[in-house]
Amino acid sequence: MRFAGGLLGALMLAACAAGERSGASNDLLIVGYDREPDTMNRFSTHILEDIQTCVVEGLTITDEHMNVVPLLASEVPTLENGGVRLRPDGGMDVTWRLRPGIKWHDGVPFTSADVKFTVEAINSPDYNPESTDGFDRIEGVDTPDSLTAIVRYREVYAPYALQFVRGALPRHLLEGRDIDGAQDYNRNPLGTGPYRVAEWKTGEYVLLERVPGYWRGDSLPAIRRILFRFIANTTTRINQLRGGEIHVTALVPWDKYREVRDVPGLTIHRMVGNSYEHVTLNERAVEAFRDVRVRRALTHAIDRELIVRTILDSLAPVINGPIQPVSWAFTDSVARYDYDPAKARALLESAGWRDADGDGIRERNGHRLAFTLITQAGFAVRENVSQALQRMWREVGVDAQVRLVDGTSISGLWFEGKFDAMLHWWHMPADPELTLFFASDRTPPRGRNINYVNDDSLTRLLYASDRTVDQGSRRTLLVAAQRRIADLAVEIPLYNVTRLDAVPANLVGFTGNPTNAGIFWNVHQWKMRTR
């Protein structure tokens, strides 16, 4: 007994010894990260690229306003500056002029040959990148000099400006090698960015350290080391933030906001995101959804303002369509479906759905107006919202059963169209493309049109926008498409997925970013203000 007491005492004594709990400084910033990267190769990873962004830079990047700005390129090619040329054969040439004087971290110059090698590697059958989107439309790259790469597309490709947002692969390191198996590169990539990987301790952390002689200036970046700690459990991550063991964490869940908003020395940066929560109505699975009156009625039945005010703590704004206010293509001039249960009931009546047997649920031709709403389990806000939707629909005579499904399984279900309705979000691409989500021929497996909407005029608008390079003309087409989507009430838009990023209050230069570029897109500008 005394031995046991002694051992426990020793443990507690050790426990009470001074430990690591220091504030963020220009020497070290600790980030709580929700998962370990699969690979540091930006073209192979399927996880957000926050860590990689600090190491490997793209030719362009999206800023906090979702504008595409040049990074390793000296300018973004456009029709106006002559960087984009539409060929008579229907193809398109994009001329990338690289910033002079850029070197890889090993001192080798970054050139147009690296751009050409990247295109060839991604289109090679020997390499399995995450996505070949856009690259598969490139027929070749010409390199008239070391700072010019002319990318020749077979067809007009509107999102060309983001083609090299993930950077380039270093030719001198990877040429002739199996890139999938190049663990030296995939674990510790060669980049041109402000940081390089100093250590990757599997399962625990990645430590980045400042690269001397960064091309933007010797004094940059101001913060010497950034430690990304992998903490998958959200509650643990928030506890570490509250305890000061980590200094930064992105995408704080809304239901944790109250726990962290008053933590001394912490700022919760709030930003409208490029994602939106909505209810997908599967027209293939539920016959009733094929009637626009039913879809409009289901939308009118939902008090979105109430949901946002109560469940979401007013953290996210109600939205009315798939393109978010942060995008240049956004319009709010679309049909709105305000909360109006009387109107919802009238629409359902006009569509022939009546409660004949008095059980509170409408029927038509012997069929009840009933469906199953699936949503992700373990996501408290979403579970609460699904219950609110269920109750609101019930009030207008619609029976929705909620089914919670784990995150991996739910992807499989929607990809196979095996659901009635789904509460979820889409993370929209930085380029405001809607074709993948709403064109009639882009149902799974060819796309993400899981509403199974089939509207010719909408499809024509969307494909026309994909073939339009001029931003003004493209916006006109996308605005028309957004109006058509709203008129058809294709889906039920709920609210914007507003980002909450927790950072030290004395961190200067932090702006956030609504796209996949992530909050570290301008990490070279970050600096801890000291008293």
């Binding site: 426990a15 399995n128 995450e130 599997t202 399962g203 506890n239 399984s409």
Partner: protein, 324 residues
Amino acid sequence: MSATGTYNLPVLPTVLRRAAQSVPLVLLVSVLVFALLHAAPGGPLSIYLENPGVRPEDIERLRRSLGLDQSLATQYVRWLAAFVRGDWGFSLSDGRPVAQRMLERAPATLELVATSLVVALVAAVPLGIRAAVRRGGWFDRVTGVLALAGVSLPVFWFGLVLQLTLAIGLGVLPSSGRSSAFDVDVVDRIRHLVLPAIVLAAVHAAAWSRYLRSSMIGILSQRFILAGEARGIPRRILLVRHALRNAAGPLLTVVLMDAALLVSGAVVTESVFAWPGLGGLFTEALARRDYPVLMAFLMVTSVAVIVLNLVADLAHRRLDPRTQ
């Protein structure tokens, strides 16, 4: 019977017989696990579906490259043929060898499980003995209630409570992780180990202490103990050398069989405490449907359960000749 009075039946034939019996069992487990994993909705490519930049053509290309376009039977036979040759395949997540990924994580789990085992035993044995000796007294009743609570506590809840009180509230311990990033020494490692080890040990300490109490009560009422007391043998010697020695056999069997449960319990504990062990790897692999990693993990744990059962049997035979 040997000259010393203990039975020494040959161990090797028993081990070989049990190993041979285990082969069809392991095969059956592998078929079941393989079928169950593939029957679950979603798959390794599900994670790609959330990214609009990943086109349907990419999904098909990745499916082919990962061999997921083959029939399930073909995939299983291929996996089995490689597995028995010692080739555990490559992780679908990061492309690295599965064996390497598991070996990287194994030390952290072994460290946590071994410490928890020691902590649980160090707590359970004295508590169990004292509760048996003071049967019906206040100590027995209090430890009984505590044991009930220990067995009933959800691991994740208990872990979060300790984090909130000792790490966030009092700030005397780190809330999670295996070590600090810098200035790592023995003290730092122990500090990080305290909370997860206590959480993982709590359930087992509670159960084992009550188990030992029951065994000790039975033994303490036997005649040889009464005879020992009558001969004036000191109480402490009677308890430790005679009573505990007899109760140790069954307890050891339970401990060894529970050791496998400690590994499965570590899955939750490692998640709560961001402990970089096999449990975390399993959770990650499950979310990504990383079949090669999941298969390897489940086969290793299945074999470990079989081996620990065998060791428990042998140990019991050694300690209690009646079982021979």
